[in-house]
Amino acid sequence: MSLRRQAVAGVRALFRRRRADQDVSDEVEHFVEQSVRANLSRGMSPSDARRAARLEVGSAVHVREQMRDEAWENVVETFIADVRYAARRLRAAPGFTVVTLGTLAIGIGATTAIFSAVNPILFKALPYPNANRVTVVWEVRADGGSIDGSFGMYRELAARNRSFEALAVFKGWQPTMTGPAEPERFEGQRVTFEYFRVLGITPAVGRTFEISDDRPGGPNVVILSDRLWRRRFAADAAIVGRQITLDDASYQVVGVLPPAFENVLLPDAELWAPLQYGMSQGRAWGHHLRTIGRLRAGVDAAAATRELNQLGNTVIGELHPPTYGKTTAMLVEPLQNDITRSVRPALLAVLGAVALVLIIACVNVTNLLLARGVRHQSEFALRAALGAERRRLIRQVLTESLLLSTLGGVAGIGVAAFGVRALVALSPPGLPRLNAIDVDASAFLFAFVVTTAIGVAFGLLPAIDAARSDPHGALQSDTRRATYGHRRARAALVVAEVALALVLLVTSGLLLRSLQRLFAVDVGFDATHVLTMQVQTGGERYRDSATTIHFFEQALAAVKQVAGVETAAFTSQLPLDGKADDRYGVAFESKAARPANDDPSAFRYAVAGDYIQTMRIPLERGRLLNEHDRSDSPPVALINESYAKRTFASIDPIGQRLRIGPLQGVTIVGVVGDVRHTSLAVARSDAVYVSEQQWPFVDNVMSLVVRTRGDAADLAPSIRAAIWSVDKDQPIVSVALMSDVVARSAAERRFALMLFEAFAIAALVLAAAGIYGVLSGSVAERTREMGVRSALGASSGMLLRLILRQGLTLTALGAAIGLVGAVAAGKAIRSMLFGVTALDGVTYAAVIALLTAVSALACAVPALRASRVDPALTLRAE
């Protein structure tokens, strides 16, 4: 009751201050009047009565103050007054305010944005119960590379192991849904029945897969993602049991996953069906399935690895599977490590870079506040001398610092929100968990608190100084010793800024040179004027491999008819598209062949049409594949040059025979140039090109490559139309220029480079601002000295040089310290470099030149000002 009255009365007083004041005045006036009347009635003269009453009551203003002092709203009012005053002071120094706010916004915003992106990817647990027990199982090749597992191995391991609660294998699945609505192709997965148990997820509606679903010829059942259920089925409550048509077959929906489910193994997946493999199938031992497992509580990845290694070798010893060597090695790794492996070094490097930016921002804020403090020292001294309470002074400075930090924080949130959105938009395709990225409140708080603490600490220094010190001394112009100390501190801060900026500049320089080197790499084919798209066959009609081959042949013929098409071909995989990793073990029959060093596998390209010509891969020896290499003719293959050289040395490879995966007795008929398959940076180029017709099974997803005469992009619609003229139900996806595919293959590096460049530029600008600030402050303080020097005969050129030297000395000192850091930073990002060493001379030279030029520029303005000092004026002014 009384608390409410307190609040209401206080708020009313706050918002209706004038009315409240009027009430008090009225009451006081009434009091006075009554008092006068009483005095009169006591026999005083009217003027005496009035004077006595006034004396008794005092002024209305005084009463008002007294009443306000006791009311709680007074605190609010003082605070508002302080904020107003602080705002006025900040407005009066727009340069300082803008630079400080900008620095805070960049420091807080960039740190928050980067941490927001990195945190869910690298540090936060995956969104599964006991996520640390969810692991990936790889089979490890002799060269240390990891390969997919096989169904046979999964079955054996699942039956024998003691380390896992559940194991599952899966592969990608892109079914096309037909029905009343337009046909649509989805990303999905074929999974063994325990897939969701491994992840620890149960459907929100319906059931998960059971072992009875997961056998050859088992029922066609499917589980939907929440998104798909809402989008395609309007969140139909009676979805379970409904039949939907996928690839011309009818599937029964058995469950819908919860809305929060995040499938990190394939983020775009929207539906899941059982794998339904059996051991009698030829593919049972093929390495094309990924394996995941949920560890039992208390079992770690290393122990599980040991067990699976042992079991794997037992299985090989008992069953002698054809696709395995004499021994095998297994690797169990936490799922989180697995999905972040490719991006981890870049993300950690970026995190390091942004930490440097935050430090630079802090240094800059410190610097700015120190400079401001020096300028305001005498003001504080004066106010202290005039009787301002120390508490009051400090409170005002505190308000100002907090106002500055708050504004900086607000701007920082803006930068962070924008930054996070930009990061997601620009992120490379390999970045996992994109949808989990959001502005991270704790990161923001951290950056905000750090910068605020610094702002408050360094903002308070001058006020404490003023309040503590004897104002008399401070008021006299004997501030030179104090400012000298401050100047030293500020010079040290500038040195630190330059050093940090150099570290960032060198690292981003190294990354830039790496990217340049990378794009200078000869990919082995000509990507200009080549259009690519993925064409897929699916459905009942294409169960038959002859039909599939026929479809691709017809589609190719139709594409070739399109005006502007020079040559065209289908290939089972496209180099550098990020998915090209279709490798098979290769064995050469000839005894002359040198055994492969460690990894006997090569990339398999099953092609139809003029693939080599279309890609303009040079033919070194022999002949190309042609239309005579049909399923009924003897199998032939092309291999690449370095592969041939390494294997056959001086012997002619033409006519030699090899076995690749399931295809035996293949004669080498030609040797073609080396091609980069998986990434520009990976030289591994062993490849075998065979005719699609001669490969034992049919690839139902092929990439079309088309060389065009004019602009390749213009032909995309007519080429698509040509394919659909053969069968309008076959989905076409991933339409892209080959040159873009190549460029995208370096997207992760480009992403890291872009961030580093942004940070380096920010660092450079902040460092330049720091140099400028220190020098212009020092010139202003030394105006008198300049005047004396000038009067004693120093030319303006000499003065110019004096200041320039001062500035460049700071730069040189900073650069020298920064070099040490840069060498360390270069070493730290070594894994991201390509074609340059961490000590690349060109980078270092260029960065030092740039830094010198920028700092010279920052020195120039204060130096010019110093050189133009008029001795007569300055001396008189003192």
């Binding site: 307190q6 009225d26 009451e27 006081v28 009434h30 009091f31 009554q34 007294q66 006791e70």
Partner: protein
Amino acid sequence: MTVGFPFDCHILTVNRNGHILTLMAEPTTDVIQGTLDMLILKTVSLEPMHGFGIARRIEDISRGVFKVNPGSLMTAFQRLERAGWLDSEWRQSENARRAKFYTLTKAGRKQLEVETTDWERRTSAVARLLRAEA
């Protein structure tokens, strides 16, 4: 805690409960903190009254022992009003000026009883002590 004592601009040290620790003032003009509230409540309990009336009444009845400064008085009104013990009302006074009249609320009456009892308990205790001393 040190607070500005709200009347006569004397500085007092008072603890949270309003108990006075030190007091430096001429004896005739001071109203002990807490006591002022009680005196106001008591005065208003007789009839609704405006500020001057209350001041004069306290002065008269105490025979000039307590002289209340208007600033302290109005601060006390503000406090008591916000505590819910007084209600106020603007009335037109005799010569058409706005005058604020205070009345005692139900809660105020209860508070007055509490304070009166408390006061009597204290004074009788002090009186007993003084008698024993003498």
